[in-house]
Amino acid sequence: MIRALGAFGLGIARLTGALALVLARTALNLPRLDRRELFRSIVLFGYRSLPLALMAAMLIGSTVVLQAGVYAVKFGARLYTGWAAGYALTREFGPLLLGLVMAARIGARNAAELALLNVNGQIEGLRGISLDPFRILVAPRVVGSAVAITCLGSVTFLVAVCFEAVSSYFSLGLPLRVFFDSYQDMLRVGDLVGGLAKTLAFGLAIALVSTVAGLRAKGGAVGVGQAAASAVVLSCAAIFSLDLILTPFLTRLFG
């Protein structure tokens, strides 16, 4: 029991230490990022994930309206569907579901690539020719995936709101103008900024966690698979805990 507790505590301390190390070395390397690797990772993580993000946005938008619409009718607040659905989407469901889907795609991908380099000794090789792997591999990826997820988040919100409007037109018979009027009257810029801030935080968490998982990989092909799997699981856990920490904070900040 005590041994298990100790191992658990040690594991957490190691993980936090590794996360802090990666974050600090990324921040140190910010002024001299490898430009080509940065663009490559933005294309790889952002542009290539666009179809997935759009599909997720369509589903999230329609599902939120299907779920909230029943209650809007029940409480006689049909006219406020635009506000309720928009608020739920920008503040909670958009960032959360996009974060979970991107944890699966970007997190697993990044961890698998880094783990493969690590297992094959290519990262040692970089050190051997006195190139800092953090400067040319890790920092551009962390920055690139955080930027990519925030951009994807704004596109996702836009597409999801359009799908919410269409879906409330079909399921509740709500005219599009009424939907967007209540959306415009009752939502403020702060709500959108809060949602994007959440998305950025999730993106940074995914990037850091998957990098740590990738760099810690040991032992051949099995290690690569395990690194990808643990990156996804740890990213999901990180997203949920960040959500809990950020929500009261953002609510106080943006009302």
Binding site: P51, L52, M55, A56, L59, I60, S62, T63, L66, Q67, V70, Y71, K74, F75, Y87, R91, E92, L96, L97, L100, V101, A103, A104, R105, A108, R109, A111, A112, E113, A115, L116, V119, N120, S171, G220, A221, V222, V224, G225, Q226, A227, A228, A229, V232, V233, C236, A237, F240, S241, D243, L244, T247, P248, T251, G255
Partner: protein, 248 residues
Amino acid sequence: MSALLRIFGAPAILFARTLSAIRQRGVDRRATMVQLVEIGSNSSLLIVSGLAFFGAVMVTIAWAQTRKYTGNITVVGPAYFELMLREFAPLLVAILAASRVGASTSAELAAMSVNEQIEALELCAADPIAELVTPRFIASLIALPALMVIGTVAAAASARLVVTIVFGADGSAFTDARFVDATDILCAFVKAVFCGAFIPLAAAARGLKAKGGAPAVGEAVTAAVVDASMGCLLIDFVVAAAFLLIGV
């Protein structure tokens, strides 16, 4: 359209092959129990903590909004409980399970397939589907509804605790089953069963297809998790829409 085919095509074929393998070879009880521990018990910590966090977050948001417009947070309690039980808990449990189960299943099968252990099984006259896929399929089919129940309990309990302790209001409304009827529970279980069947099939389809060296394992894991979570989102949407169309 091609994305739909890609996500559901291979799992559908694998589903048919799994059914015929179950008919011909039966189910290996022991392996199923092992997978039940791996899929059900080992995912429960992630799912309970995730859903508990989610319940607390949703209540915090509801608190901020009701203070602005209606005043009393406990008014939304019963509706919140129904929404949690019917929609949110099944969706989030399915997505978390898709990440966790999808990643571990596809990593294991892809590593076996890359190391040619699947061919070795075939050489021993064993059916890889009956040996590897069937136990995972049955175990996940049993485990997902159970995980969904645990997750719903965790979310509702944390909502009630947060309202009572942090906001100092009466939290018992958040476990008030006034609006819950049989169709809500049926809807939740239909989602859980469909997702439970889909996740291991999608992951196994990607894992068994992995070819090449170590990079193939990482690629299989990525593709499997994406397939599984997108598939679960789609299943959730279709089931919710179907229940809405029937009008219950």
